[in-house]
Amino acid sequence: MLDQHRETFVQEANDLLRELEESLLDLEEKSTDQELIGSIFRALHTIKGSGSMFGYDKLATFTHEIETAYDLVRSGGLSVTRILVDSTLSACDEIRGMLTDDEDRSGALSDAQTAIVEGFRNLLKNTHSDKPSAPTPDAVVVDAEVNSDELQHECTYRVRLTPSPDLFSNGTNLLPLFEEMQGLGTCRITAQVENIPRLQELDPEACYTFWDIAINTDRGQNAIRDVFIFVEDRCRLEISVIDSMEREADGKGYLKLGEILVQRGDLSKDNMQDILSQQHRFGELATEAGIIDHGKIESALQEQQLVREARDKRATVEQASTIRVPAERLDSLINMVGELVTVQSRLTQVANSSHSQAILQVAEDVERLTAELRDNTMSIRMVPIGSAFSRLRRLVRDLSQELGKEIDLLTEGAETELDKTVIERLNDPLVHLIRNSVDHGIQNPQVRTAAGKPSRGTIRLSACHSGASVQVTVSDDGQGLDLETIRLKAIEKGLIAPDALLSEREVFALVLLPGFSTAQKVTNVSGRGVGMDVVKKNIDSLQGTIEISSKQNIGTTITLKLPLTLAIIDGLLVRVANEFFVVPLTSIEECVELKLSDVKRASGQHITVIRGELVPYVRLRELFGIDEALQAAEQIVITRVEGNRVGIMVDEVVGQHQTVIKPLGRYYKHINEVTGCSILGDGTIALILDLAKVVKSAARAEAANYENVQAGSV
């Protein structure tokens, strides 16, 4: 993408250079023409500015020097001379050269270029300008995110934002800024409205409100300042630390309400003493006495509460005694453990063939330790799925309110642990499923009552371990999926033939196809054409599976089966001739043997009968074009792919194989049927199969084959 922008830039810069040269030649004759000078400055400025955007740093630094001179010419501080024009023309030639030099966009200036820069600096020196030309520190960018990764201690801050009345006149909207604050940490915002005048005196375009914000964050004061960077000219922003771990460690207790108000300057010490002497609840008395506005009391109380909560939280965290480590370090640790596992299995093989008791002993110890190390390392990346669940609670609340429905979200198994990456990537699909349930699944209270159901709907979100995978289910007690509607819709969209006979499961699977959406009206919540196919894509990319079951008027259950981690895979190692493949264990149901006689009976079709059920199979031998001598019996690994049983025919099932997934190099990116590879003990590479893709391309090949046969027989 950048390359395309770069091309446009080079073209544009060349055009600008051409114009620039013309203007320079004109300038020699009309040396005081402001318009000419202005256009020269602009051209240089654009070349510099855009150049640095597209990675031409050298060009930007160089052009900056020349631009500085013309800035001075523009303001009358430097006059146009023959030398200036000459130097600028040779500078143009250098710029043109730099535009074509794709290899060295950000290196040091060449000697000729430095000489030109020096020439310009000398010109400037003679003018005694008070604007020295600094090298461009163009990389500083205003962005709250920049400071975000600094590790700071968590502190509670008090922020008071007092805007000037004309705040809104430059198009400022404070709401996004408050939302940004909420992103920094736990945050209580109180609007203070005491300055709003009576209606007759009110200017509707003015801002009379000011805000008290108590925030608990580990991002530091600068991050808070950055949030308000665009408005600080038109606001008074006061930030102070009110509580921190150090303060707590010093044994300082909670501030009393009165103390907070005095500290903020909202109340005088004398007034506080006065009120205290009356020995009633402070806030009530202060308000009643009319000394202080109710809003200010409210925000002071909020602040007190926040400090209390933050301390409580810290106390629980400290008990668990954790340390925070950047995720990249964990990734590199896992990578190294992966290498170690490979080396260890080589060692075991070598030891086995050496017949030396001493080496065998060592190899066994290493094997045991490596296995422990691997399990431990994997468990470091595991976090409870609860964090993903709690975000959904808010979603359900907001959505159901928006749609006028009453819905409870019940969660189970929040403590189930999964790889952090998996949880992160699971968030979007879960949000989508929950949205679907809220919007399409659960009906309005009136409809529910009429159908004899409780008016409040329930969405159940649960997670549990099942073997080497985790099962996450989202179920609702809504209207369920309508088989007939789905079937009709699929026919209308041309996804199935009008006379196709499909099982219930197959019909539900249609919902997962791209472009399928049965929502009658498009709402804010869901039904924008991005449907379940996106969920499926996400789950596929996690090596997971998705299954839908539904009963009309009773509800829908969607079951996601996910691997515990993406770094290792539990698979079945299989062999075809001399090639090894790994089939993900999560999708395997059983292994059966296929005799040559069975193949003959199916008269060439790739179908076999297993306990009375017809099961199609894919021959890896054919799919991957492996043509070596066939054995008398082959084995079929029966898998479930997208709800259907499909066999994968191989020469031999070697056995279960837990392995670290290695990505394939980028030269193999176009190979769809394989998600990665694994290195076996003897250094052999086994390719990890993407079953859905394998089945798809086998089906395509089959169809093409069938058409050829048809065409041949006519």
Partner: protein, 122 residues
């Protein structure tokens, strides 16, 4: 309905990059090559935000901001200006003229989107 943003810049490459990035983030984008072009196009549109360069022929960024602020329809429309680090005074001028915020060139696509969200809210 997605929000519409107008990008005003005499540099086609910057315009293209801004436009590409914002469209990718789900916004609608209209382009103008300088202040005058912007003023000519904007009356017929419902523009939720303007992102303008400062140095442009015809009508520069500061002039454009002043014109827009003088028009009741765009009095409260957020306006971001594109500045470079060396343009401190121009930035100040833009702020006084009524710019809502600024982005310093060079910027990365994600910084542009973050800043737009900071000002627009979505």
């Amino acid at each position: 309905m997605s929000k519409m943003i107008m990008t005003v810049d005499d540099s086609a490459s910057v315009r293209q990059m801004v436009s590409f990035t914002l469209k990718d983030a789900g916004y609608e984008v209209v382009e103008a090559v300088d202040g005058r072009d912007a003023l000519k196009k904007i009356p017929g549109l419902t523009v939720h935000m303007v992102i303008t360069d400062l140095n442009m022929p015809q009508l520069d960024g500061i002039g454009l901001i002043k014109e827009l602020r003088a028009d009741a329809k765009f009095k409260f429309t957020p306006i971001l200006m594109l500045t470079t680090e060396s343009q401190a005074e121009r930035k100040q001028e833009g702020k006084s003229a009524g710019a809502t915020g600024w982005i310093v060139k060079p910027f990365k696509p994600e910084q542009l989107v973050a800043t737009v969200k900071k000002v627009l809210g979505c």
